[in-house]
């Protein structure tokens, strides 16, 4: 605690959400990210006009890459929320006194964290294909279902990491906080949502952002069971081109898309992080 700061602490209400969240730093980082993407595209275009590679091909390529990006975004939109929901519930479960929840959480984390995502993806894909085909007799339904089951397997994998992140966050909140909540007559669930979890999230968010950005790129593994995502688009397009330069162009465009997607998601996590910031609490501010 800093006494001089305490004396000087102005009694002002917390600034509104937008002001809190869009700090000078965050606006600058949006700027840098967008500038980086524009610069790479610019250099690529410049090299194309100098005939270093076939510019028309690069422009044609934008369409399939966009389609691939749409598929990857669809996968991310399923894998991140599902992974987070699993990680949140099972990570929380491991901090409760219930032997059932603790056991479930421990088995879940121990299993899914110990499996390479690629093995989980293939197992889930093949098993669900087999099962759905037995049940419905239709190879087409089996294909659709098993593609999604592969994505869900990836979410389970990511969730096992997030469970540990959430657990660490909850463990970081001192017991005194819960005692204080108890002492004013709050029930266990109330205390959890009003007192423990907001503080746990504040601690967990940087690590969660890390895991989100990691799993975005892991969705590329889903191309191996047939998802036509960004990575698969890269593979397909690169196979069809002539000349080393064009192969580079394909992967540069794919890379830009992965970068942009990851950047946007981590920026969003940072927005939430800024929202949970507590004045005077962070050592980094001193």
């Amino acid at each position: 605690m800093n006494e001089t700061e305490a004396e000087g602490a102005a009694d002002v209400e917390r600034p509104p959400f937008l002001k809190r969240v869009f700090t000078r730093e965050s606006i600058a980082r949006w700027g840098v990210g967008i500038a980086a993407v524009v610069a790479v595209f610019g250099i690529l275009y410049f090299l194309g006009t100098r005939q270093l590679y076939n510019l028309d091909f690069a422009i044609y390529l934008i369409h399939p890459v966009e389609d691939g990006l749409a598929v990857t975004m669809k996968l991310v939109a399923v894998v991140i929320p599902l992974g987070f929901a699993l990680g949140f519930l099972l990570g929380w479960g491991r901090t409760t006194r219930s032997m059932l929840f603790r056991g479930l959480g421990a088995i879940y984390v121990d299993f899914f964290r110990s499996m390479p995502p690629i093995v989980l993806i293939f197992f889930s894909y093949l098993l669900s294909a087999l099962a759905v085909r037995q049940l419905t007799g239709s190879p087409f339904i089996a294909r659709d279902v098993s593609l999604w089951m592969a994505a869900i397997a990836l979410a389970f994998h990511s969730g096992s990491y997030q469970a540990e992140i959430v657990r660490a966050g909850i463990l970081s909140v001192p017991t005194g906080q819960l005692e204080a909540a108890d002492s004013i007559g709050m029930g266990r669930l109330r205390s959890m949502f009003s007192v423990v979890l907001p503080q746990a999230f504040r601690v967990s968010l940087p690590a969660l952002g890390n895991e989100f950005s990691s799993v975005i790129k892991d969705t590329s593994l889903l191309s191996l069971v047939g998802w036509l995502d960004l990575a698969q688009t890269g593979i397909v397009q690169a196979r069809g081109v002539v000349g080393t330069m064009s192969v580079f162009v394909v992967w540069i465009e794919v890379a830009i898309m992965y970068f942009a997607l990851t950047y946007v998601v981590t920026r969003i996590v940072r927005v939430v992080e800024n929202n949970y910031k507590v004045p005077g609490l962070e050592a980094a501010e001193l």
Binding site: M1, A6, Q177, E179, I184, M186, S194, P279
Partner: protein, 243 residues
């Protein structure tokens, strides 16, 4: 009227017999000071009183009603008993006014506006009407403890428990917390206070008990316990803290 009655209270932590049959009555508007060496069970006694810890045997009566029995929710009991901790335990992610409001909104189910008004009123009572929007990390120890008192006070408790409220404070901040407590006592708040602040005990307490090894060894007015202790152990302890 007796606000809190503790009858034959026992508590074990594993093999450790922490409370060994404590009996204590606290009358309405009285200030009961509890002293005793470290590890004697003072804190456990307070925590059993508001059921933060479940007693293993004996009775806790709040205004004549036994509260440590099945069918009575401990949350309902704690809502009526305020507690102030040695380490303040303010909710670090909430401002001073939000700290005080939380129980009013979540437990007493007041609407936000009424809760805010009540919170402001109670923060004013502890002299922090100008720190409503400060976060705990921006406040001095003394200010934090006063917010903690306001948080307990806002629930309109029948009795307030203070667990060594000044022990974690820098000397310069002790008096501001004791002043608030003294004022509360004068306003007629029923209080149970574990403290080694002899000035406060002598000036404000109606009764002092000396706890050692899980038992109340001696009970009386401050003068009786501090100036003419009857037991050897009380004598030794009082001698040590008054020196």
């Amino acid at each position: 009227m007796t606000t809190v009655s503790i009858r034959n209270l026992h508590k074990y932590f594993g093999d450790l017999h922490v409370l060994r049959g404590v009996n204590l009555d606290v009358e309405k508007a009285d200030v009961q000071v509890i002293i005793g060496p470290s590890g004697s069970g003072k804190s456990t006694l307070l925590r059993c009183t508001n059921l933060l810890i479940q007693p293993d045997d004996g009775q806790i009566l709040l205004e004549g009603v036994q509260v440590n029995r099945p069918g009575i929710r401990p949350e309902w009991v704690r809502e009526q008993i305020g507690m102030v901790f040695q380490q303040f335990n303010l909710f670090t992610h909430l401002t001073a006014v939000q700290n005080v409001m939380l129980g009013l909104v979540r437990v007493k189910k007041l609407d936000k506006k009424a809760a805010r008004d009540k919170a402001k009123f109670d923060l004013d009572r502890v002299g922090l009407g100008d720190k409503l929007h400060a976060y705990p990390a921006q406040l001095s120890g003394g200010q934090q403890q006063r917010v903690a008192i306001a948080r307990a006070l806002a629930m309109d408790p029948k009795v307030m428990l203070f667990d060594e409220p000044t022990s974690a404070l820098d000397p310069e901040f002790i008096h501001e917390v004791l002043d608030v407590m003294t004022r509360l006592a004068e306003e007629g708040m029923t209080m149970m206070v574990v403290t080694h602040e002899m000035g406060f005990a002598k000036g404000v307490a109606d009764s002092v008990v000396f706890v050692d090894q899980g038992l109340i060894i001696e009970q009386g007015t401050p003068e009786e316990v501090f100036d003419r202790p009857g037991h050897e152990r009380t004598k030794a302890f009082v001698g040590k803290i008054l020196r």
